[in-house]
């Protein structure tokens, strides 16, 4: 067939005056002709479209059946709206000190135990750790006055006391993810005797850089957080969700659906996709005062890394953290760039400081296949080396 590219340079489709070249010669010059769709290609694409449309009932069935949460868990402690879940397993416990996972307040915590093969919790459970996860619950209107002091000096203290009483241990290990990591760092700085090991996962502590769009958007010149909380009470879930989506609008609003269309016939892809979508759309409001304090004192004034942050009457000094720390950061994190997390290692007073910078995104650190294969076994090894056997 006399294709257009046979006539010469693709920039001049009619190729007047140029000798005709073979397809291999054209490919060798690293050019291509996007207009070279043949009727066969078109028919194949149409057939593919029809195949996918016939699979729609199956897709809907998978969407209905999707379940999140891979590891069975039971609540062992409740206070107000929060619960602490203990993960159950037939694997014998190898280590005495329990691991408490602290997630952010803006989403549900089951992202760390999303599906089989995409569960951070399962890694630690299968290694013999006694793992607990904090489910902060959904703040109601009456919770609008809960601030940093309530979450860190009240709730987190009670949680760690409850876990220590339940397990009969004097200390706990903490794994904090994102904002939960920041809160865990504050807690550890205020109560260093309680924490044996601290793992920070994509947790911001230094907001001096404006790499992340969130840091730009929350600048006090453009964002009046007082007014938002005054009108809404709590930081609304829909507002937070929109903000997160707009951090990567092309990826979240366009590319995702192209990828969905192309993989509609892959059942495993669909199960993972719908599980992820369940979590992404499960945003919850954040207690108003907590949101106000976090934005003002952390994002806008960057008080934590400067040693100026107060929780209640107490000054948070990161130098008080002397336990071993492992700082996990994501190279492609658009939400918490490495520059916001890495300064933690220099700010603490610990002598045993480790960091792993992993090629993944913010959520990919928890649910990515590569992270589950490569990163979490290393994190388990790190914690096992610093844990007391049963």
């Amino acid at each position: 067939m006399n294709r257009l590219w046979d006539r010469g340079h693709p920039g001049r489709f009619w190729g007047r005056g140029h000798p005709a070249r073979t397809k291999d010669q054209m490919n060798a010059t690293t050019t291509f002709n996007p207009w070279a769709l043949t009727p066969t290609d078109g028919a194949a694409m149409w057939q593919g479209f029809l195949n996918r449309m016939t699979k729609l009932p199956q897709v809907a069935s998978i969407a209905q059946k999707v379940r999140v949460g891979a590891t069975p868990a039971e609540p062992v402690y409740r206070e107000d709206k929060l619960r602490v879940l203990r993960y159950e397993s037939d694997v014998q416990k190898q280590y005495r000190t329990p691991l408490v996972v602290v997630f952010a307040l803006v989403n549900r915590p089951y992202i760390l135990d999303l599906r089989p093969g995409k569960s951070v919790v399962a890694h630690f459970v299968n290694r013999g750790f006694d793992v607990y996860n904090v489910d902060w619950g959904v703040p109601a209107d009456g919770d609008r006055y809960l601030g940093m002091e309530d979450y860190i000096e009240k709730y987190m203290v009670h949680i760690m006391d409850a876990v220590r009483d339940y397990t009969g241990t004097e200390q706990v290990n903490i794994l904090g993810y994102c904002m939960g990591g920041t809160m865990s760092a504050m807690f550890t700085a205020l109560h260093p005797d309680i924490v044996r090991n601290l793992i920070m996962l994509a947790a911001p502590v230094d907001w001096s850089t404006k790499d992340s769009l969130l840091s730009v958007w929350t600048d006090e010149k453009y964002f009046d957080v007082d007014r938002l909380i005054e009108v809404y009470g709590n930081a609304p879930a829909h507002y937070l969700q929109s903000s997160f989506l707009m951090l990567k609008p092309v990826s979240n609003l366009i590319e995702k659906y192209f990828s969905f269309y192309e993989n509609m016939e892959d059942e495993k892809f669909l199960e993972d996709f719908f599980a992820m979508e369940t979590w992404l759309n499960d945003n919850i409001p954040v207690a108003g005062e907590m949101f106000r304090q976090f934005v003002k004192n952390c994002f806008q004034r960057n008080q934590l890394i400067k040693g100026e942050l107060r929780v209640g009457h107490r000054l948070v000094n990161l130098r008080n953290i002397t336990c071993p720390i492992l700082n996990l950061t994501a190279t492609n994190d658009h939400l918490v760039p490495c520059g916001q997390s890495l300064p933690f290692n220099q700010a603490v007073g610990s002598t045993d400081r480790s960091a792993i910078n992993f090629p993944a995104g913010h959520i990919g650190m928890a649910v990515g296949s590569r992270a589950n294969r490569e990163l979490w076994p290393k994190a388990c090894d790190w914690l096992a080396q610093r844990s007391e056997p049963v």
Binding site: D141, G142, R144, V216, F223, L228, I254
Partner: protein
């Protein structure tokens, strides 16, 4: 493609985005044996990458930030008006409004803080008394 320059022609970022995408097109190099869909995917990906880059830069621009600030102020003002109207309507019907429950919550919270502070002080005093008692017992025991 810097959206931060003041006085930038609004067409320039778009022109830059389009030029960026077209510049990426020659880099798309399908293997000899691949079909057309791979070529289209690469084209598409190049387009999305350029669009994402443009969107990121636009969302950092003064233009965008001021626009979102204004939009939020308008939304909050509107919401506040609705709240005031609803509060007034509810009060006219002799029913409690959100502001009333907020007031109760604030009162409860202050009370809770006062009570907890007082309990803490009492706990501290009791601890001190117990320590003193234990100390005097030890001293008495040693004397004997």
């Amino acid at each position: 493609m810097n959206g931060q320059d003041k006085g930038t022609n609004p067409m320039d970022p778009f022109t830059a985005f389009w030029s960026d995408w077209m510049a990426k097109m020659p880099g798309v190099n399908p293997p000899a044996s691949s079909g057309t869909p791979d070529v289209l995917k690469q084209m598409r990906q190049a387009f999305f990458d350029a669009m994402a880059q443009y969107a990121d830069q636009f969302m950092r621009s003064e233009q965008f930030l001021n626009a979102t600030k204004q939009a939020m102020e308008n939304a909050l003002a509107f919401r506040q008006q609705i709240d005031q109207f609803l509060t007034q309507s509810v009060r006219n019907m002799q029913a409690p409004a959100r502001a009333d429950t907020d007031h109760i919550l604030i009162v409860l919270r202050s009370m809770e803080e006062r009570v907890l502070n007082r309990l803490e002080q009492l706990d501290q005093r009791v601890s001190e008394l117990e320590n003193e008692k234990a100390k005097s017992k030890r001293v008495a025991g040693k004397k004997q």
